[in-house]
Symmetry: C2
Subunit: 449 residues, 2 copies
């Protein structure tokens, strides 16, 4: 479909070449882009990765390492490398990428890598390591193009060319004054188009979005996506320029946050690595299952309380599973829509209120329709219209509760400052289980005995 | 936190200004960025939006309209506008944005808008309307900077400046030959840095990713994210340049696809609008609930089959809810992790096999641990070690099945070319309900009666 697309053939090709000489392997590797080698690495052993990295130029090797997924542990590859090669590669990496990788190591390992670097590089990375990983500071790159407000067109172009020797990619040119205070941005296009005697001060665009280093990464992503900008400046409280966060980091953040939300509402800890092994998965999920067991005992306590009723009308236990299952699924539907809506939009109080009202209505209608189906079933199969009525009422009531809790609980959590995705299906289905059984068995005790 | 941040104050401010004169309102509006007005529109009535749009310059008005969320229906705003103003605004819009908005209208309404446009604009938009919305063709913009391979540095810069009069934002300069065949990309920075007599042919970077107009939008997003590029060229089968898709479109695609996945695995139709009304929500969810009802009858049939057993040991119905609830939640966990993993990575057959094996192991361990807790509970509360054993076995077996189906079903669906997120919790919990009851009640019949 496009020029680069990896498949199993590529993996076998590399694996085949690994059996041959270094020269042959090198020739094959030249056919691939660094980001492709990073993907192929996922299918290779640690020793093979090491051999390949050592064959690549420092430029390509550092690009491969920066493109490797966090889950493929580029930091381990770095750690096992010869210290000289490692230092070359780390110095070639952008500061933000180097920081991301080094931050995954133990403190003594970090120290080992940093002390081989130049004082300048080491202190820049040390500085970035001090920011929380999930903030603008943790995402930002401290290498960017900055020019003084008072430069003329010609001097500005010279300065940009000079600075761009060090910086591979830039999307935005930041403008500062003599005190290093941020003044705005300017595009290379506008500089080139300007008249010969133009000054940057005439070209600068001052009204731009910016963030502080402690701004949450979700907010950074929201701003970049809202204003369609390739990079956003990070400023300190004196409005001095500390760094920039670029759109490609934001794409990664969005994928990460979306993964977190999806796992959380499904009752999986947000830090479970998708490709982690079973030990990590057990550690991440067992606590939630134990919590679920606790809530299940609660629901089961309700059933136990109505034991005598069930002994008399055993068929109730067949309907119990229907009421609980339907309630759980209706609640999961309301939960998914609401959590997703909260994460994409800022809801006003009025919108939040209307959301709950909407889910209440949806629950009532869906409950009544499916309740009616079960009523008819009970009428024909169990020839018991009163039992049908009890089931109809329990179904409608339980889907009402599903709607209110599925929408209401994440909205309340958001309001009090807790991540709404924590309102996982495990929490929400407790309500529908308990209320569903209470309604069905309570009504049955009153009306059928 | 940053220069632009909207809150309730802004909404009240605009609403207050709407009560005053046009001049006052205009003055207040000038304080806001177009994308902020687009957000504020969400809290305003259709009449107020119309009044504001008419007060704004054509440039700002078209930006507001292009920034409005699909769910706020910019096409309705456009339709209700005075035709002259509308034509001005549509001509100011980028072709891809105009196409997105117009595509939401009925055919006769589309015609009404298009026939007022210049022949050139109308045919460009008509052409874009012909592509599927969820492909590169549907996302691409046909306005971009293209220069001939044979230009010299000076002519290239002149050409770029000339073309950029029409194109507000550009990130990449595309290079073509005399036959309009795509040759690669070049950066403005490299052109400026080149020697005076350099030709574009010496500067062009030929190895770049590209797509066809019918490439799926998810693939486009994956490539832009993999290669960290601001835009990707769209080529026809003769390698001629048709357009470009930019990173900001890709951010929107990712958010959309993530919403779809989250809704689907929760049993909500992917086309339910998050802020839709209750009618849409009922239409989207009721069919899934009815499907769930069908599967619930299946599970309930199992319970009914074991009616005599339950009549003798009524406490079994209390444990049934625990086994079914735990199985459902464990399956949802495995499902979320697997669906997310499939959507982020391409899994090889071997990786898919190991994923199922991992979930089997996780299910066995989590089942045994939680089964043991329930065993102890049964021992102390019901003083019945044999009942405890039955429950322990049913729990372990059901969580094993939860792991295998939660991971296996989406992987099989992916393999046969069906969207794995369709394997919603509704489908998966059918397995855990049916097998959970079969195990618990079947074992109880054999061992306890």
């Amino acid at each position: 479909m496009q020029s680069f697309d990896l498949d199993r053939t590529d993996v076998s090709k590399i694996k085949g070449a690994l059996a041959g000489s270094d020269e042959q392997l090198k020739a094959i590797l030249e056919e691939y882009h660094a980001s492709e080698i990073a993907i192929l690495f996922e299918s290779l052993t640690s020793d093979d990765r090491q051999r390949i990295i050592n064959l690549l130029s420092v430029e390509i090797a550092s690009e491969v390492i920066s493109e490797m997924h966090e889950e493929s542990h580029p930091e381990e590859l770095l750690l096992q490398m010869h210290p000289d090669k490692r230092t070359e590669i780390v110095e070639e990496l952008d500061y933000d990428d180097a920081t991301d990788i080094i931050s995954q190591l133990e403190e003594h390992e970090q120290k080992e890598i940093l002390e081989d670097l130049s004082e300048d590089d080491a202190s820049s990375i040390r500085n970035l390591l001090s920011y929380d990983e999930e903030t603008a500071g943790g995402l930002m790159n401290t290498e960017f193009i900055r020019i003084n407000l008072n430069l003329t067109k010609k001097d500005a172009i010279d300065e940009i060319i000079r600075q761009s020797e060090e910086i591979e990619e830039f999307y935005t040119i930041f403008v500062i004054n003599d005190d290093n205070v941020f003044q705005g941005i300017v595009s290379l296009k506008d500089i080139i188009k300007a008249k010969g005697n133009a000054k940057i001060t005439e070209l600068v665009k001052a009204e731009v979005a910016w963030v502080y280093p402690d701004t949450d990464q979700e907010e950074v992503a929201r701003l970049i996506s809202q204003y369609n900008i390739t990079s956003i400046p990070v400023l300190d409280t004196d409005m001095r320029l500390l760094g920039r966060v670029t759109f490609d980091d934001v794409i990664d953040v969005l994928q990460e946050e979306n993964t977190e939300d999806m796992l959380k509402i499904s009752g999986v800890s947000e830090d479970e690595e998708l490709s982690g092994n079973w030990v990590e998965a057990v550690k991440s999920r067992l606590p939630w299952l134990v919590l679920n067991l606790g809530t299940a005992f609660l629901a089961s306590g309700v059933v136990r309380h109505f034991g005598p009723t069930i002994e008399k009308i055993a068929v109730l236990s067949a309907y119990m599973t229907i009421i609980a299952g339907m309630g759980g699924n209706a609640a999961t539907q309301a939960l998914a829509v609401t959590v997703r809506r909260i994460s994409l939009y800022d809801l006003t109080d009025n919108q939040a209120y209307r959301t709950v009202l909407k889910e209440f209505t949806v629950g009532a209608i869906n409950g009544a329709v499916t309740g009616l189906i079960v009523f008819l079933f009970a009428l024909f199969f169990d020839s018991n219209p009163l039992l049908g009525l009890v089931i109809f009422l329990a179904m409608t009531g339980n889907l009402l509760i599903a709607g209110i809790t599925g929408a209401g609980i994440p909205l309340i959590l958001k309001r009090v400052g807790i991540d709404p995705a924590i309102a996982s299906s495990i929490i929400i289905t407790t309500f529908t289980d308990v209320f569903g059984f209470l309604l069905l068995l309570g009504l049955a005790s009153k009306l059928l005995l």
